[in-house]
């Protein structure tokens, strides 16, 4: 059996940044396994700009952003295998992979970094009634057809869901000559970034209809049209608000799901809200030595944060291995009682969900999303009963990730700290 210190599952932005960071932190035995025919993951089809503002202080396209990390990985001499599907990860970190040349084979790793990304929610998950013709695509599939394969899915488009990929595709299809008739969003607010609403819809006069959904699909073979209806407070369609819109294409941008089939099969404990693994301050899952980062952990809004998070996972994987090898095992001994993060009152979840103060760095960024639009509200953090952070934000929306920074010294000041609560407060 082959042996590597670290096996990284996925060669997208998370996997690349994790591998590069692991190498920079002193690990020389790293292997990236990528199922596609090139490194870079979904960034390769994101040919629009807006990537890298935080990381590189400049605006890059997706492929350009990916390329910086691909170059780094190559310069660092990190091994990678393309066209390789990981079939299984065992609890004791044996990775089973498959490709055309090697067939089915196993690799023994000391640490594994999960970076498999996410997939789009399909039509079926929404149970939209109607026919099942050609012409219905998840936004990312349409993006790939246009940007990678060079084919147009259709010319008269309705987009359901205002997630970022849907917004980006509204602009992209318009630029390719299609008519995007409407973007419909079930919720009273968009799930995408504000800047995408402005740059992709407003700038092209594409209407965004909030509180609307598709209630019927017409066309037996190729899509002919859809019926749009307004929805009430309860999220249910309101009678007599139905409107038929002819179109040959329906794009769905109705959410992303972390792709955790391998994690589930491995027995890793999952977080129901994020659909990603539950991780601690080291981004380590419930199985020690298996780390997670990027969209497989929780769906991010900006790739910059993916890279940052992944770098931390890579660094911690190296720490884990050196602790094992210097005999500081079992790493869970001489540990302080874990501190649990509680997401409540407007906060949907936090990553991480657990902190071991002895293992955290000087400071730790905790990321979360809010469940609604909040104006002139406060992000509040309580250490047990005491409020320690109270930061005003003009606007917070579910489409944008929020973060707080915790200082280790501050945590240490609280003896027997059990719970850190993160919530949104009006005042």
């Amino acid at each position: 059996m082959e042996k590597y210190d670290i096996v990284v599952i996925g060669g997208g932005p998370a996997g690349l940044a994790a591998a590069a960071s692991a190498k920079e932190n002193g690990c020389n035995s790293i292997l990236i396994l990528e199922r596609d025919n090139e490194l870079g993951g979904i960034l390769n089809q994101c040919i629009h700009n807006g990537f890298g503002l935080h990381t590189f202080k400049e605006e890059l396209t997706g492929p350009e952003y990916a390329d910086r990390y691909i170059k780094e990985v190559k310069e660092l001499g990190i091994e990678y295998r393309l066209h390789t599907m990981v079939m299984d990860i065992s609890e004791n970190k044996v990775v089973t992979a498959m490709n055309r040349e090697r067939g089915l084979y196993t690799i023994m790793a000391k640490a594994v970094i999960l970076a498999m990304g996410c997939r789009e929610r399909p039509r079926g998950a929404l149970n939209i009634p109607g026919y099942r013709p050609a012409g219905i695509f998840s936004a990312g599939t349409a993006q790939r057809l246009i940007n990678i394969d060079g084919y147009m899915p259709g010319k008269e488009v309705v987009i359901l869901g205002s997630g970022d990929i849907g917004l980006i595709m509204a602009r992209r299809m318009t630029l390719e000559g299609a008519k995007v008739k409407v973007v419909a969003e079930l919720l009273p607010f968009s799930g995408g970034l504000k800047r995408n609403i402005v740059q992709c819809l407003d700038d092209y006069n594409i209407p965004l209809k909030l509180r609307h959904t598709v209630v019927d699909i017409d066309g037996k073979e190729r899509l002919k049209g859809i019926t749009l209806a307004q929805v009430g407070e309860d999220g249910k369609p309101i009678k007599e608000t139905e409107e038929y819109i002819s179109c040959d294409t329906l794009l769905l941008s109705v959410g992303l799901i972390p792709e955790n089939e391998l994690s589930n099969a491995c027995g890793i404990r999952m977080e129901p809200v994020t659909s990603g693994p539950q991780v601690n301050e080291s981004l380590e899952t419930s199985i020690s030595g298996i780390f997670a980062c990027g969209n497989v952990l929780h769906v991010h809004d900006l790739v910059d944060y993916v890279s940052e998070e992944a770098a931390l996972a890579g660094k911690n994987a190296v720490k884990y291995i050196s602790a094992m090898e210097t005999g500081e095992t079992e790493p869970d001994q001489n540990e302080a009682e874990p501190i649990h993060l509680v997401a409540t009152e407007g906060v949907r979840y936090t990553v991480p969900a657990v902190i071991n103060v002895n293992k955290m760095e000087d400071s730790l960024i905790v990321r979360f999303r809010v469940g609604n639009v909040f104006q002139d509200s406060f992000i509040s953090v309580y250490f047990d009963e005491e409020r320690v952070i109270h930061r005003k934000k003009k606007i917070m929306a579910p489409g944008e990730m929020e973060e707080i920074k915790l200082q280790r010294v501050k945590l240490r000041e609280f003896e027997n700290l059990r719970t850190i609560t993160v919530k949104i407060e009006k005042e």
Partner: protein, 478 residues
């Protein structure tokens, strides 16, 4: 000039085609779609019924029990995924308990083996997720679940390999009798035949009525279904029926042979014979009714919903006979549930009818056994590596949800009557049938179809002549 023309390449037509291909006969199957298994056969409960539902002495009862017996051998000879998982008809009301006894008695009379009436404790022991309202059940161990696609493809492939012609995208426009033979007028010209078998599903009345003064009426009875992710597939292990009502067997909850969970069908009579759309009302009703028999259904795991049309004849009975006033025209009509289960027996019966008036010699070189598409994920590591060594495409995963390799897709395309469309690939090997519903594999499968069949990407269809996936290269839009 054909000896036999079969109209319809659904499971009934293909079963008849397979049966008749055992004989030296010049026969063809006419199908209006581009593939076999495009109508009722592709959208049903995928159940092998035990046979206690149909009225004693009816053709339905006889062919159901016979079909259920035959499927055991057929599934192994033809490599059809089939599991005899058993079924429970559950009763949720003390007052209705006698109806379970009635069903039991009917089953005995129909010749169904091993039936048992169970009380609540016994039922829940077999199936822990039965709803709290369940007071008893009828257990039928001989019931099973099957892949209706593979069943149809297997029949068709065997028929094709044994010399039966298949004509796709061919619509029958008229049927005339002249000089003791039938002239079947199609969009591709007139085909002559001594015998015509009408296995046209919801359209069977249209063709029957072309040749007979005794009119038939087939109503499309729509059934809507939800299919749940494999993570929900073990919620029940047996097929769970509610006690039958006026519109058939009611909503069932069952595992599929592929490990998903299926819930359905509803029953609504509709005018449109192509009305395979789901409805808000139907899906709502489905989810509500399924909860009556099974508790804690993980409905959030729904990956798709769909509707199929049962070919319901007014008398709720199969019509399998030579048309009285049109010798040589044989109906295989009214093939609603248990039509899938009965299909093998219908094949036997129809060929038996033809043999009454037509001498056919048995073939000595009949190909009886079919090797299905290898499902690489089910092989041992050694077997799989052997396969990949011989054909590296088996090492290249295209559909990551169902873990389907390029090798399997190539087999689906190149075997007899191979796949020509995305849905054709999906029904043969399940690429695109998983939880992402073809989000990732659509472009890849299109490329493979385009490359292998030498057709441009623009001409790749989902299912049906007009169902193009893309409209052209970028900037093709005016």
């Amino acid at each position: 000039m054909y000896d036999v023309i079969i109209i319809g390449a659904g499971v009934t037509g293909c079963s008849i085609a397979r049966e008749i291909s055992k004989y030296k006969v010049n026969a063809c199957v006419i199908e209006k779609e581009e593939d076999v298994c495009c109508g009722t056969s592709k959208a049903n409960s995928a159940i092998m019924h035990a046979g206690f539902d149909a009225e004693e002495g009816s053709l339905m009862a006889r062919l159901n029990v016979r079909g259920n017996e035959m499927i055991e051998t057929l599934s192994s000879d033809l490599d059809i995924p089939f599991i005899r998982n058993g079924s429970l008809v559950v009763c949720t009301n003390e007052e209705d308990l006698p109806k379970l006894q009635d069903l039991y008695q009917r089953g005995i009379a129909n010749g169904v083996r091993d039936l048992a009436v169970l009380n609540r404790e016994e039922s829940v022991r077999l199936e822990p997720n039965l709803s709290d309202q369940v007071v008893g059940s009828l257990y039928a161990p001989t019931a099973g679940i099957i892949c209706p696609f593979t069943m149809t493809f297997a029949f068709a492939e065997i028929a094709s390999q044994n010399g039966i012609a298949f004509k796709f995208n061919t619509t029958v426009e008229d049927i005339q009798k002249s000089n003791g033979c039938y002239e079947v007028k199609t969009n591709h010209g007139i085909l002559g035949s001594k015998y015509v078998v009408n296995a046209a599903g919801v359209y069977a009345d249209v063709f029957h009525n072309m040749v007979s003064s005794k009119k038939m009426k087939i109503t499309a009875r729509r059934g809507e279904y939800c299919l749940l992710d494999k993570s929900a597939g073990s919620h029940v292990s047996k097929t769970i029926f509610a006690l039958p009502g006026k519109y058939g067997k009611g909503v069932l909850v069952a595992p599929t042979v592929h490990g998903n969970l299926i819930i359905g069908p509803t029953a609504a009579d509709i005018e449109d014979k192509e009305g395979t759309n789901t409805t808000k009302e139907g899906l709502g009703e489905l989810l509500q009714k399924a909860g009556n028999t099974v508790k804690d259904l993980p409905l959030r795991q729904t990956i798709t919903s769909f509707a199929g049309l049962r070919a319901h004849e007014d008398h709720h009975e199969f019509i399998i006979r030579e048309v009285e006033d049109s010798a040589g025209f044989i109906d295989a009509a009214g093939m609603e549930s248990p039509g899938l289960t009965s299909a093998p027996a219908v094949g036997e019966m129809v060929v038996g009818i033809i043999k009454n008036t037509f001498q056919m010699e048995t073939k000595t070189d009949y190909i009886a056994v079919r090797k299905g598409i290898v499902h690489a994920a089910e092989l041992t590591v050694e077997e799989r590596n052997e396969l990949i060594k011989m054909q590296p495409e088996y090492g290249n995963i295209i559909c990551r949800c169902e873990m389907i390799s390029e090798g399997e897709i190539l087999d689906a395309i190149h075997r007899p009557l191979g796949a020509k469309s995305l849905d054709g690939v999906k029904r043969r090997v399940r690429a695109g049938a998983g939880r992402c519903q073809a989000g990732f594999c659509t472009p890849k499968t299109m490329e493979i179809l385009s490359r292998e069949l030498h057709i441009p990407m623009e001409d790749i269809v989902k299912s049906g002549m007009e169902a193009n996936v893309v409209i052209g290269k970028n900037r093709a839009v005016k």
